[in-house]
Amino acid sequence: MTTPEPDAKWELRLYVAGQTPRAITALQNLERICEEHLAGRYTIEVIDLRERPQLARGDEIIAVPTLVRHLPEPMMKIIGDLSDTERVLVGLQLRQRPNRP
């Protein structure tokens, strides 16, 4: 997996099912991480599946919250309230995964 271009514009989507405490936590965690690592070059769209249920199918969402990195490619998915920052960074390719034998 190659790391994305440093100047690429990031498009992130956070899927939730209603404004639950977990959803709010996920958004807060996401904003914090983005500010720290992607300042000025990201957008976050929050999609509430309760309001737009057909997107669950279209975007293959099973777990909530789910964070999807649409751009840059390839598409990455991370599920959970994003409280595990390290995992989030690895999942977004902002941190290299430790080399595996």
């Binding site: 899927y15 099912a17 977990r22 936590t25 996920a26 965690n29 599946l49 309760r50 249920p53 057909q54 669950a56 199918r57 293959e60 969402i61 099973i62 777990a63 909530v64 919250p65 789910t66 598409m75 990455m76 998915k77 991370i78 599920i79 959970g80 309230d81 994003l82 409280s83 595990d84 920052t85 995992r87 989030v88 690895v90 999942g91």
Partner: protein, 485 residues
């Protein structure tokens, strides 16, 4: 007071029989089995028949196959899934889970799945749901405790929505399912088995559990072919066959005369047993030819001879087929016993019976169906039952290993009429004999009759008695000479 459990048709007639009406309405049914054993097919049939026959739209939530895969798989059965979808009768929703690209970073639940399924159900007003297979979730998500909690929630959710659900799962090693799904889905549990014995594939289905309902507990064979998923239960114990009027002639007048009604009952089962070369096929052929000549339709299924061989051999003893075959009233089908599993033999018979609609069917010989023991006996009983249920006269030949009044076919109790053929060796010659062992519902001769095969057909010789003895063969001729003198 307990309310009777409401059931929905499973879409498979034989399975509805085994479960006394079908699957529990509004509840989840668990279908477990190994790979390739037919779970997906059963699920699709449950939905397709539900839509076509009962006006119940359905949702197929597929975790492994895509909608295209599913449509292609069932096209050979003649179901057009795309058409059903277009009519709002079916939604096939393929859920793609790619474990490599999912990172788990914190707490989550599976509400997205609920939303998705809920939207599918709402879109077409679905009454039936199939989820195939939940195993994929176990493989993809690390948090097993969460998964179990969400599954419990899912089944409760399905019940709340009043849909009748079918959940498929992989067979486990020590337990029923690999991940213990039977803990959550236990209203009705079906087990599909797929095994190879004697190089023949056999599929079996069993109702492991059905809360609140009586059900058959035995393993039952099933098949998947161009008619879909078919279960063939052993139903002879119901004994609902209507008694039929009408007499069937064997084509041999003296043999007919041995029966109290002048022949056999139409729609009855007639077994002809004897040692090799005792003329069983000749008599069976005579029944068939006589039926066809009398304007009926006769089907002759041979497991030992080709149609040409059969016709030639029978012609030499005065039983002529060609005219009846040409008229279309007599059909000859030859199959090699080793070519098919027992279930396929049954399916072939069913196919021929449906296609040709015979009044009389010959199966020659029954012992040619291979294998031994309970499997074959069960299958033979099913075949006999199939014919009886349609009031088709059945003529079956069976081999006796020695000239005893027993067979190892194990079906004599379901046979109405039993004719046994023998060869008596005495004074250096062999004499052919026949006798009626049993003829249910009528009186019959209990004499052992001598007969000969001429090129005009079978001729029974008069019983020659003198001084309390019966004389046959050369002794008979000698005695007749002496008496004339």
């Amino acid at each position: 007071m307990a309310r009777a459990l409401e059931k929905v048709s499973s879409g498979v007639a034989g399975l509805d029989e085994l479960t006394h009406g079908g699957l529990p309405r509004g509840r989840p049914t668990l279908v477990c089995g190994g790979p390739g054993c037919g779970k997906t097919m059963l699920g699709l049939q449950f939905l397709v028949r539900g839509a076509l026959d009962h006006g119940e739209p359905g949702v197929f939530l597929a975790f492994e196959e895509t909608a295209e895969d599913l449509a292609v798989n069932v096209a050979s059965v003649g179901w057009d899934l795309d058409a059903l979808a277009a009519e709002g009768q079916l939604i096939t929703d393929h859920v793609r889970i790619d474990p490599q690209h999912i990172q788990e970073a914190g707490a989550y639940d599976l509400e997205g799945l609920f939303v998705r399924l809920g939207a599918d159900i709402a879109e077409i007003g679905a009454r039936r749901v199939v989820i195939d297979t939940l195993e994929v979730l176990f493989a993809s998500l690390r948090d097993q405790a969460l998964l179990r909690a969400e599954l419990r929630r899912l089944f409760a959710w399905l019940k709340e929505h009043g849909v009748t659900a079918m959940i498929t799962a992989e067979r486990g090693e020590g337990s029923l399912t690999r991940h213990g799904l039977e803990e959550y889905v236990s209203d009705c549990v079906l087990l599909l088995d797929h095994r190879v014995a004697h190089q023949v594939t056999t599929r079996r289905l069993r109702v492991v559990k059905y809360r609140g309902s009586a059900h058959a507990t035995d393993e039952t064979p099933f098949m998947i072919d161009e008619q879909g998923f078919r279960v063939m239960p052993l139903s002879s114990l119901r004994l609902e066959h209507e008694a039929t009027a009408g007499v069937v002639s064997s084509g041999v007048p003296d043999l007919d005369a041995m029966f109290g009604i002048g022949g056999c009952y139409r729609g009855s089962s007639i077994l002809i047993t004897g040692t090799p070369g005792s003329a069983k096929t000749t008599i069976a052929g005579s029944f068939a030819r006589t039926a066809a000549a009398g304007g009926q339709r006769a089907l002759y299924m041979s497991l030992e001879e080709s149609p040409a061989q059969l016709q030639r051999n029978l012609a030499s003893v005065g039983v002529h087929f060609p005219e009846q075959v040409a008229s279309g009233r007599l059909r000859l089908v030859s199959t090699r016993p080793s070519a098919y599993g027992l279930e396929e033999h049954l399916a072939l018979l069913l196919h021929e019976v449906n296609d040709f609609e015979p009044d009389l069917v010959v199966l020659d010989p029954l012992s040619g169906y291979g294998l031994d023991g309970a499997d074959r006996q069960a299958m033979l009983t099913r075949m006999i039952d199939l014919l009886k249920a349609r009031s088709i006269t059945g003529v079956f030949t069976g081999l006796l290993s020695s000239a005893r009044d027993e067979t190892d076919l194990g079906i004599s109790s379901v046979i109405d009429t039993w004719l046994t053929l023998g060869n008596i060796e005495r004074n250096g010659e062999r004499t052919r004999t026949l006798a009626i062992v049993k003829a249910r519902g009528m009186s019959h001769s209990n004499q052992v009759r001598e007969f000969v095969l001429t090129d005009e057909g079978i001729e029974l010789l008069d019983v020659y008695r003198r001084g309390g003895d019966v004389y046959t063969g050369a002794a008979r001729r000698q005695r007749m000479e002496e008496d004339r003198a």
